[in-house]
Point group: C2
Chain length 317, copies 2
Amino acid sequence: MTITDLASLVEQARAGRVRAVARLISLVEDDGPELRSLSAELAPLTGRARVLGLTGPPGVGKSTSTSMLVSAFRARDLRVGVLAIDPSSPFSGGALLGDRIRMHDHTVDAGVFIRSMATRGALGGLATATPQAVRVLDAAGFDVVLVETVGVGQSEMDVVALADTTVVLLAPGMGDGIQAAKAGILEVADVFVVNKADRDGVDQTVRDLRHALSLGRRELGPSWRQPIVRTVATTGEGADELLAALDGHHEWLVAQGELEARRVRRASREIEAIAVASLRARLGGVRGGEVLSGLAKQVAAGETDPYTAADQLTKGF
Amino acid sequence: MTITDLASLVEQARAGRVRAVARLISLVEDDGPELRSLSAELAPLTGRARVLGLTGPPGVGKSTSTSMLVSAFRARDLRVGVLAIDPSSPFSGGALLGDRIRMHDHTVDAGVFIRSMATRGALGGLATATPQAVRVLDAAGFDVVLVETVGVGQSEMDVVALADTTVVLLAPGMGDGIQAAKAGILEVADVFVVNKADRDGVDQTVRDLRHALSLGRRELGPSWRQPIVRTVATTGEGADELLAALDGHHEWLVAQGELEARRVRRASREIEAIAVASLRARLGGVRGGEVLSGLAKQVAAGETDPYTAADQLTKGF
């Protein structure tokens, strides 16, 4: 694809053509040679969208909550782009789309773009592709970009933690406070949502959460008291309160100069992830791959240790 | 610490001195300058232990299952080392030890070593420290090294997937089969355990699992049919069946030449992780840190794109 083709695709995406947006995100996912030119093309067009992250353990209702948020933003006439990050599975050969079916309500609305992204199992996959996809949606003129991720792992956390505002979802009966803290989700949250608030145990979950929060202080500059919003995403209950909490956090970010700081931090990690991925590719390249496999056999046999082996591998750098 | 001190610590660890083992693992966690010498010291002593990985979503009973397995291996008079990987939390300042209390039964037994390891939030943390800690326990003469990790994220998966045999725990009512597949845990499992098998819904969970497994084939050489074992870890029910399944898989690995292949693969990833961490450190070092933060500001302002910035960052390599 030529640079002219790319520029034309970007222009179509900005004009609201859904297929152009989809093609651009495919380019990002494919991680092909066009990505560099595309990234250069997008750079001056970015920085306008509000980027929201949404995460939580499996089963808390992330998809329905995303759907609820999409409706709420649409009611304000804002365009919303959704990136649903699914760990890839060899079983499905890609992203599992099962629970996207609920999002069907929004698929005929031109102001909404929804995309499931597979992570291809590569550690670098999430870290490099997601921010690029966010850039595509931002450049295409979406007012809000919502990154939703299943799972509670470190790399998934890193992704949502890069949002302007990160929403952590919990639900009653999902395990005690310690389990939540172990999952590493308390510290990344700007706003908590206790979904399925019509179920038994919701008060206990809110209490556990308050208690866990009272044990720690966040060390992220001027303190922000993380609100806890109760929702029933399936009925839309609590949507207004959640939107108010998100707006409150956005205003706080702007007032503190923290929005700019977060975006610089995000750019920094993004650059680093790309740099590491390119160095990693050089390690595993034709020549590196041979060297690595020879070294791995020596380490497995106890003939050398992995540090010495790593030194030999990076000798040429 | 001198090399002589290190050699003496290793010798004490091999003689069964628990404190020496603990100090060696602290050296690994601290990621200090001694790690290279230590790794060289350990290399010729490794390769004897059976390395088991145990994972599953929060709340399935990983700690009690680990405890049950420890008892079962001890009944065979095998020495067991346990590494419990906890994502670190700023709230606790390190690993959360709450659920380790159940492991207390084993703490007076010299044939058992249990250690919670914090991951310090760094993506490279898990990937580099865990295999080194496994090496310490292997070199110290533990017959079985059990790596247990909470969470279902990609980096956590990468850790347990490096075991000789990976056990994935599920429990009734933890969400449907699709949720499990999304969490990426089906493909890493060599043996499945459905714990809390005295609860309602266990048959449904086993059926869902069988169904999910029937949808896919693993592409890991000669096929191994992943057994599904039902346990009640709190009472020890199913421990014999689980041990038999683990032995069966171990025999299969040996018969297929797959044990050696897995260990070479593990060594390869270990070398690569160390190499990437050292390159990453160079990127973020004194000079690199300044360059990176300048580039990040430019990217955040849309003045340049992250690929161009990454090229500039790695220019000197």
